[in-house]
Assembly symmetry: D2
Homo-oligomer: 337 residues x 4
């Protein structure tokens, strides 16, 4: 951390900052220039951080040099993390395809889609029983009944299943039904939920909040890891911008940025980013070309009857047609699918 | 709701949409033009909404005409809502000042600040015992211990107190200690928490998410109202934009927009929007001039020692100097403070 | 400027950076720590700046300490700049009201509005003869014919007039007709236009680009000042965000931030920020309360017949009713209007 | 266009709107419902558009149904546009690679890079002689001297060249030197410049403004086409968002969206989007996978000595290594490179 004192800072103010650094167990590296005084701080800055020093008299600017994340940083595990979900590996050479409807609507619906996406080559089955909806007047999901359907379809198709959990009180129960827990974009900053899923032994798909920076996404994963659960898959799903042609703006650069910063696998959700199935195939292709470790995509056999996210769901037929195209790109970047 | 069919939509596709409208209990108002067919939909659109129709074949565009919120809309209660918190009224002619430290740090700290802001004219005391921090390595608040301090200081100063609640499991407990529950910006889309605070009989300060639209803020308030609790104070606290001169960008226009759309009181949090105490006084003045019903502002007697948000906290002295200035503006717009 | 070398930077790489600093005539302030090497750079960094050093091997981060603007910074002229436009002063204790239609449509229209806003207390008359329109199929303005109308109305009403100039080739001609030249938001980064208006001796209203940072706005003003013209009025007019309830999001904090950073007067354009006249009065009030030196607002006697910006134009009657309210707020903050 | 009257709109207000529609030569399609009156408008809406009607009494909302662009829309030319630049075709099956330094610095520099990128397979040579720089104190380009160098290097390497033009007064001169004119992101809304390049017979690369919507980009191209020049290549180069890990956020979805909306070729500029060469290769791959018709990328033989954009320039060696990887992806999506 570097503290830049204001040009007009008094000696007393400089001493005050130095004293505070030392009291918090850090070392001071003082360099007084003709124009201004700069104070380098070495040591554990978690007890007194940027904001702490910014609040002190005479301080002009505080610059964080070290990255604030620890366990999720690449340095912590340079070889990369591979997460096993049943027989599927996420983070290895093979790209993982997670597909299924937005919401579990009925056993018939979920089983039909499950069989279709499995036949097309999907690895993991997605589906939500608890739905975060902007309006309380919209379909809120089947709840535990939906989880039971998921579990049954899992047994019938032998596919691992993943689902969203929204409430700290539900984590334990949901974890009994499914193979992967998903923390949705709207809950990326629900810190109690992060802590709670961190206490389970299930892999977590952590979706980036719609206005969260990449740094904040990594700090959210840090909350989970701090509780002992290191099986985290980071998911870019579009950020909120001024553009309205798509529901959100897929931040494709998040893939190379995260690949540089963290050892955790990175997947892309093109469905929520696009909001329109027309654009989903191109975005899947871009994701794989950019280096993503997997894709989570919404697929429905009858999107026009879907209880949610119909417009952005691929039809099962579109998904089946897309898979060989994605395979070709995966091979072009030296991976399998 | 208006459904605009694609120019190339077939008769069969038009019939399909009409049938779906009727099946969902709504009425059809069909108008076939030379260029395109437009279908007006009248009735309760909550069962099949914009997305449902968007997913149907032949549909080009769906336009929502009626506002999606109900109980929070101005029509629902044109006279406006006044919320009583102890002897304080929020939403009436008098502007409510809510002040205090970001976090409760100790009884001494909280009592000192409480006495100071009360002497300066504050109405309600703010303070957090549970802190949503971006990094798990930062101070997370005193928890229930902090609530006990708040309650004690309430008794000593006779000021109503408000605090943040983050976890559904804590709602009942927190509600026993304080007069007002706050749902923070990061939890505006934590729907289970909204439902849970909706079951209490305490007034709720609902903060706008940092990338939430005003419409989404009002829909979040619907979640609370749907559970029976109509005592909601909406709080604008800055939205996330590209500008970095301030921590967030205070959306001052949210005040007149909300005043047009809803009967609920609207307050402003300049501290989190600014991120720097230098700008807080101007923003307080702007808020009152724009028509806000109150202000929630961070104040600390020793910001340079604050465990969080020091840089954006006013000193108790600055707060005392600001109050008469705000009073003058309140009077200029025909209100009291 | 502070250059933070990567932890793994070699001695050769450090020497390379040091050499480059010295070759560009700056002084080096080297401090080697156990974790990393930090290089302070003192002197004129305009020849080799942040990006130049960022591109060098071994460099991890470069932090600009000194503000990049010079003549527009507060230090350059701490007493503040007052700009005289006819008898009107902008930047002094009195708040300047600039009002008029979006576009000059006809002599009758412009004269009618001019008389009305003058009667209500406006100081300067606004109007555009050259219109930047998103679509080429929309009304593009009357061109020089419009300027002639403006000049005539100026003579009839004795009000100073201001108008937009869009093309470098028009600057000289436009400057002959009007008292103030306006550079629109879409041209804030049209550097050749900035240079050209910098060569005139007319006051310039420089509007912030819709996605320009405050820092970029000040650097745009440097372009004008560098050519010799220091009579610049900075104008905040709303930035582009995700919110759609208003056309843009008025960044009210830009007022205190600019007041801290620069000696130039700061005004607010609530009309383009709001996009809807309903919200304009509140935004005018907020602007004055926040410390703005003036307001530029669109007013039309028949907004429903306006050739552009009708929805956001106040009626002349609304403007007349608003003025005493603004006066009250001006007085509450110790100013006149 | 659909006009939705307010529920409380009077008959007189409805008649006023109907009259205005008819006066502007459009046809009315009135449908009075129990809740509200909806007026369909058929015909040429360019004389009185959304804003015009929005300003009328009794109007609640106006919805544009038809796309506002004409000549750039896909309907206008469903077969797609192929633009010939020397022997290179942009918009056909082969992906065009445009490479070169940010700025032309000297003949030696430009020739070295030209030879290197040509050897690696680049089709067109980029380079700027006029530089739009945020600060007036930074390197502004060599001007016409730079264009002379470009022309000479063109003759020596037989590569077509492209460069930016910023000032309406320079268009004719610049067009004499180069094969392709570039309108930069900061000038996308410089309408006079758009008109001026529209009068030339040179292909135009039109870059998306950093906060321009896709619709606005297409309307900007409409300005050029209206003057007679239909040879336009649209370029996505990153939009401004809250994320700071990259300089801008590459909107990869703009590729499929534009491919759906327009017949014009679409290329990607990963360099300005990333701001860091580390991320450029992944973004190039994503662009081709998503369906882009070409890439414009900054390459420098000595980025650490570059006078601008050094950090985001690929080295010539990196570019040479990247090309075969891009070729593999091009083939995976059925194209050549």
């Amino acid at each position: 951390m570097i503290i830049v004192m204001k040009p007009e800072a008094t000696d007393e103010e400089i001493k005050g900052v130095v004293k505070s650094i030392e009291e918090h167990g850090m070392q001071v590296h003082l360099s007084k220039g003709s124009e201004m005084t700069i104070i380098g701080v070495v040591g554990d800055t978690t007890k007194q951080g940027v904001n702490g020093f910014m609040a002190m008299r005479g301080v002009g600017n505080v610059v964080q040099i070290m990255k604030p994340y620890k366990m999720s940083s690449k340095k912590f595990k340079p070889e990369g993390t591979i997460i096993k979900i049943g027989d599927v590996e996420v983070g290895g050479n093979r790209i993982a395809m997670i597909a299924g409807p937005c919401a579990v609507e009925s056993e018939e619906q979920f089983l039909t889609i499950a069989k279709d996406v499995k036949a097309a080559g999907a690895d993991i089955l997605r589906g939500s029983a608890f739905k975060p909806r902007t309006s309380p007047y919209e379909f809120q999901g089947l709840g535990e009944e939906g989880l039971k359907i998921m579990k049954k379809v899992k047994q019938l198709t032998c596919m691992p299943i993943e689902t969203e959990v929204m409430d700290t009180r539900d984590v334990e129960m949901v974890a009994e039904y499914v193979d992967v827990l998903r923390v949705g974009a709207r809950n990326m900053h629900n810190f109690d939920l992060l802590k709670e899923v961190g206490k389970t032994n299930k892999p977590i798909i952590l979706k980036r909040g719609m206005s969260a920076t990449i740094k904040e996404l990594m700090l959210a994963s840090e909350y989970i890891m701090k509780e002992g659960n290191h099986q985290i898959i980071l998911c870019e799903r579009g950020i909120r911008t001024f553009e309205t042609a798509t529901r959100n703006t897929l931040d494709i650069s998040a893939v190379p940025v995260l690949k540089e910063e963290t050892h955790l696998p990175v997947i892309i959700d093109p469905s929520h980013a696009a909001g329109n199935r027309k654009y989903v195939p191109s975005m899947c292709k871009a994701a794989i070309a950019a280096g993503a470790d997997g894709i989570i995509v919404e697929v429905h056999h009858e999107p026009e009857k879907a209880l949610c996210d119909g417009p952005q769901s691929l039809t099962t037929q579109q998904f089946a047609e897309l898979m060989p195209q994605l395979k070709a790109i995966a091979e072009a970047v030296g991976r399998t699918l």
